[in-house]
Amino acid sequence: MPITVKLDELLYQRRMTLTHLAESVDITLANLSILKTGKAKAIRFSTLEAICGVLECQPGDLLGYDQAGGKAP
């Protein structure tokens, strides 16, 4: 999947656990795990907004694009 999720890095930088983030953004731990492990197929804007709000970051800090990591568009 060319879209990469840098949630691990952001959590490490902010010294936050995934469980704490789940409680703060009102998203289930299961869904956040799906996102963190790159298994998510899509992300809602509301989810992106909530995560960026808690982690105080931009969507571009959370998501990346690696063309070599998947099929070419």
Binding site: I27, L32, K39, A40, K41, A42
Partner: protein, 179 residues
């Protein structure tokens, strides 16, 4: 996220009705099976006497046996239809109706209806053949023969719904990975 729906009166009523229909159909199949067995064994002589009394040919016996077997087939189709519908109702109760299995169930229900209409044709033809002899025996028979609009519509609805559920399952699958 799939959630169950406890206490849904419609689903509850549907489950009860389907159980009752299942019992009725199985009972009918068993009784028909017993009746056919008796006819083929102990009841054969008496039946042959009765058909001779109304000047029906001897082959009427096998016509009746064939008719009973076709009826048994119809009841079996009815049982399969109820079982497929039960599967759908259970999946709705489990909060996960949009699954490819339900698309398959609806499709099979459509085919069951088509086969049932096909089985009904020789049954009606047999009944039409028996009618004059039954009239002679003092039993009036009315035959409603042919493919009616309701059956055609039901078959169409089932196949269209199968497509709807197939698409719903695909959309649900996409949603599964959405956070």
């Amino acid at each position: 996220m799939a959630t169950s729906k406890p206490g849904d009166p419609l689903l509850g009523a549907a489950k009860v009705l389907l159980i009752l229909f299942t019992i009725a159909v199985i009972f009918g199949m068993v009784m028909l099976g017993i009746g056919t067995s008796v006819l083929l064994t102990f009841g054969r002589y008496e039946f042959m006497t009765r058909i001779a009394a109304v000047d029906a040919p001897a082959i009427a016996f096998w016509g009746l046996v064939g008719g009973l077997l076709l009826l048994e087939g119809m009841l079996y189709l009815g049982l399969r239809f109820i079982r497929e519908l039960s599967g759908i109702v259970n999946s709705v109760g489990a909060g996960a109706p949009f699954h490819p299995r339900n698309a398959g169930r609806l499709s099979r229900m459509g085919w069951i209806m088509i086969i049932a209409e096909g089985v009904a044709l020789p049954l009606a033809a047999l009944l039409a053949w028996f009618a004059p002899y039954l009239e002679k025996a003092g039993k009036h028979v009315e035959i409603d023969f042919g493919l009616d609009a309701e059956s055609i519509l039901l078959i169409l609805i089932l196949f269209i719904l199968a497509r709807v559920f197939r698409e719903g399952a695909r959309m649900n699958d996409e949603l599964e990975g959405t956070v």
